[in-house]
Amino acid sequence: MLTVEAERNERRARLAVVAVGVGALVAAGVYRIGDPNAGGFPACPLYSLTGWLCPGCGTQRGLHALAHLDLPGALAVNALMVLTLPVLAYAYLAWGSRVFASGAVPPLRLPARAVLVAVLCFTVVRNLPFGAAFAP
């Protein structure tokens, strides 16, 4: 009973790891082929409604730049997203190793409050006149 449930949970966890990996690859392919600068990609609803830049604005253009190995271009549209990607990649590695290899990679210990402060500062600054460097 318990082992059946544990087995099912493990299978689900493995599926989730694979699904997220495949999703990331598909996203990379989408932004490699398509170009959000040319339109045809969904625009941020918050920006469309209010004109405010949210912390995710510029992410699609940034991913497009990264898919074409243009790091400065990606940093120019959403620097926080670019800086976050290595962290997310590590978190994915740790997650995958926990599910598949019982934890060869130690899990990520991120200070949540520092992340919150960084995201809030980034959001405020990129909406201010002098924060154009952080705006897409």
Partner: protein
């Protein structure tokens, strides 16, 4: 031989204090050591009294970052706020509060993800409809 239990006394109805100095339990709480039943949270002590702290609950910070920076909707920030609460409450000894914040962080990460997904799917459907109704307009982007 002499300290063998007399017959008939093998029904331990009362919880025996099996460890040295148990923390003061709430009156209606389960006996110490029993698994939490009925969905009760194990840390039902006021904070800072050395109550039974479980392992730190997940703060879902990675999910919150993902939905904040990759979903184009700012609800992920709510999730990051709760993620920070999980850490601060757990470090302050408030295990029940940390569990509640963990639940909220998870909920808001999913809300943000769901709204983003609905928006993107709706957008794709709109594009497909407009492309099938008139093939001449607005679908000649750089693919």
């Amino acid at each position: 031989m002499t300290n063998a239990p007399p017959p008939g006394s093998n029904g331990p109805d009362e919880p025996t204090p099996s460890w040295g100095a148990p923390p003061p339990q709430p009156p209606a709480g389960p006996p110490p050591g029993s698994p939490p039943l009925y969905g009760q949270q194990p840390g039902y002590q006021p904070p800072g009294y050395g109550g039974p702290m479980g392992p730190k609950p997940s703060n879902y910070l990675v999910q919150a970052i993902l939905t904040t920076l990759f979903c184009c909707l700012p609800f992920g920030i709510v999730s990051i706020v709760y993620a920070a609460q999980v850490d601060s409450k757990y470090n302050a000894g408030d295990y029940a509060g940390a569990l509640a914040s963990s639940k909220n962080a998870k909920t808001w990460a999913w809300v943000s993800f769901g709204i983003g997904l609905v928006f993107i799917l709706g957008y794709i459907i709109l594009i497909a409809i407009s492309a099938s109704s008139d093939s001449s307009s607005s679908y000649d982007y750089g693919y």
